[in-house]
Symmetry: C2
Subunit: 244 residues, 2 copies
DNA sequence: CGTGATTTTGAGAAGTATCAAGAGGAGTGG
DNA sequence: CCACTCCTCTTGATACTTCTCAAAATCACG
C-alpha cells in the first residue's frame, strides 16, 4: 500500500534519520517521484530479479535484505533501520530481496527521478552517494566478521550493533529488542540457528547478558561484550562519521 | 610515484576497462585532479586510517583491499583489476588498506575534484555512482560465499571469477594466472592457507584442474567447477550488466 | 487449553583450524 | 653451474568449533 509523500507526515520525518541523509528526505519530490509504503511483517518490498525501479529509505520499522540460494541456503545481507537506504543495485534488477522484518514503512524513491535529480542537485546527489558508500562500509565490517570470527564474537558484534543503533532509550541495564527471529540472526551472522541459541545461552551463563524474554536482551556486562565484539575490529562502521 | 595523466597514455587507456566506466577515464581532468601512480608488488596505495583524499581506478596490474585486525586476522575484501574503482569510503579516512598485489599502476582521482565534477557532470556522476553500487553488488556475492559455502565451493567460485574476468586469452584449456599468493586467496575466501592448498590438491586429484606451476591453473572441467561455484548462486555480480 | 511455530538442548558427525614438518622454487653468491 | 638460504607451498596428525539430526521445552494465538 502506497501513499503520496507529505512532508508533515511523521513517518516521513522519521526518514530524516540519524545518518545525515536528511537532505534526501527534506527534498521536495514531485508526487510521482516518491511515496511511502507500509508493510506487514514478512512482506516483500522488492524481490530478487525484479526490475530495479526504485530506491528505498526506511521510515519506520526494520527491514532486511535477503538472498536465498537454489539449495535453500539463506544469507541476510543487512538489517535496515530508519534512515537507512536500500535497493541501490547497479543492475537492471535487484540482487537481493527486501522484506519487512516487522510492521514498518519505507519511502519509495523512483530511480529515474533520483538519477535526474542527482544530476541537478549536488546536495541530493552527495546524500544518495553517501548512502551507497556507507552501505559498502557496513558490508566491509560484516564480511570481516563473517569471514574471521567465532560464533561468540559474531553474536557480541551483533548485539553491540543493535545497542549502538537501536537501544531502548533510558534503560538500565542497556536493553535491546530483538525484532528479528533467531533464524534471521543466524542467517545474518553466517551461523545456524542452533549455534546462535547455544551462544545466547553461553553468554547468559557467563553473566554477560540476561534474556527476560526471548526477544529482549539486557546487556549486563557491556565491557565484556565489547571486548568480544572488538576482538578483531576497532570503530565499527555504523558509528564512523560520514563526510562528503 | 605519480605522473600527470595523459589521455594518450596506454596505462590510462587501460582504465577505460570492460565495465562501462569509460566515462570517468575519458573525461579530461585538470592536471591537479588526476594522475597515474605506479606501484611495486606489496606497496601500499592508501592505508587504513589515512585521510580519504582520493578515489582510485586501476589501470594496470592487480590491487587488493585489506583489513588487518588487532590480533592479526586478515581479511581481503576485494581484488581490483583494470577498470575497477576503489577507495570509495564514505568517512574522512579509508576503512581499508589498498595495496598492489603485483607491479601495476592506478589512476588517482582527487576526491574533492570528483565531488565537484560529479555535481556538474551527470555522466561522470553516474559512472562513479555505478562504481560504488557495483562494488556493493560484488560484496553481496562475496559475503554470501564466505558466510555459507564450503572450502571447495569458495575456491571454485574464486577460480570462476578469475576465469571470467582475467583468463589468459586464446588458451585451451582455459587458464588463469594466480597473481596473488595462497595467503591472499585464503584471506579473501575466509579460509586458512592450508585449507586452500588442500582444496587445490583435491580439485587436482578429481581432475577438475591442473597446476602446471603453483601460480597457474588450467581449468580442465569448467562444468564441474561451475556447478560447485554456482551451488548457491546464479549469475555472479561480476558479469551482471550495469545499467543506469 | 490446544495447536503450530519458535527456541532450546543433546549427542554425534563433519569440516576446518592448528601445529608441525617436509618439499618445492627463486634468488644469491661462491 | 651448483650449493645455500629464504620463502612459499604442501602434506600430515590432531584438536576444536560448528553443523546436523533429533527431541524436548517454550511461546504465540485462536
Amino acid at each position: 500500500m502506497t501513499v503520496a509523500i507529505n512532508p508533515s507526515d511523521s513517518a516521513f520525518k522519521a526518514v530524516c534519520g540519524p545518518f545525515g541523509i536528511a537532505e534526501v528526505a527534506n527534498s521536495r519530490f514531485a508526487h510521482s517521484d516518491a511515496s511511502v509504503a507500509h508493510y506487514a511483517a514478512g512482506e516483500e518490498v522488492a524481490g530478487e530479479g525484479d526490475p530495479a525501479e526504485n530506491y528505498f529509505m526506511v521510515a519506520k520499522g526494520v527491514f532486511r535484505s535477503v538472498k536465498v540460494t537454489r539449495d535453500g541456503r539463506r544469507q541476510i545481507f543487512a538489517f535496515y533501520m530508519p534512515g537507512d537506504m536500500c535497493g541501490l543495485e547497479p543492475g537492471p534488477t535487484y540482487d537481493l530481496t527486501i522484506e519487512a522484518v516487522n510492521a514498518g514503512s519505507i519511502a519509495v524513491l523512483s530511480r529515474t527521478a533520483c538519477r535526474t535529480r542527482m544530476a541537478r542537485d549536488p546536495q541530493f546527489n552527495a546524500a544518495v552517494f553517501d548512502g551507497a558508500t556507507r552501505a559498502l562500509a557496513l558490508s566491509i565490517d560484516h564480511m570481516t566478521m563473517v569471514g574471521r570470527s567465532s560464533a561468540e564474537e559474531r553474536l557480541a558484534w551483533f548485539l553491540k550493533m543493535l545497542r549502538d543503533r537501536a537501544a531502548i532509550p533510558g534503560r538500565e541495564p542497556p536493553t535491546v529488542e530483538l525484532v528479528m527471529q533467531r533464524q534471521d540472526i543466524a542467517d545474518y551472522l553466517g551461523l545456524t540457528i542452533e549455534t546462535v541459541s547455544r551462544t545466547f545461552t553461553h553468554m547468559k551463563e557467563r553473566g554477560f547478558i540476561a534474556l527476560p524474554t526471548t526477544r529482549r536482551v539486557e546487556i549486563l556486562n557491556p565491557k565484556a561484550l565489547e571486548r568480544l565484539a572488538a576482538a578483531d575490529r576497532d570503530a565499527p562502521a555504523w558509528d564512523r562519521r560520514i563526510c562528503a
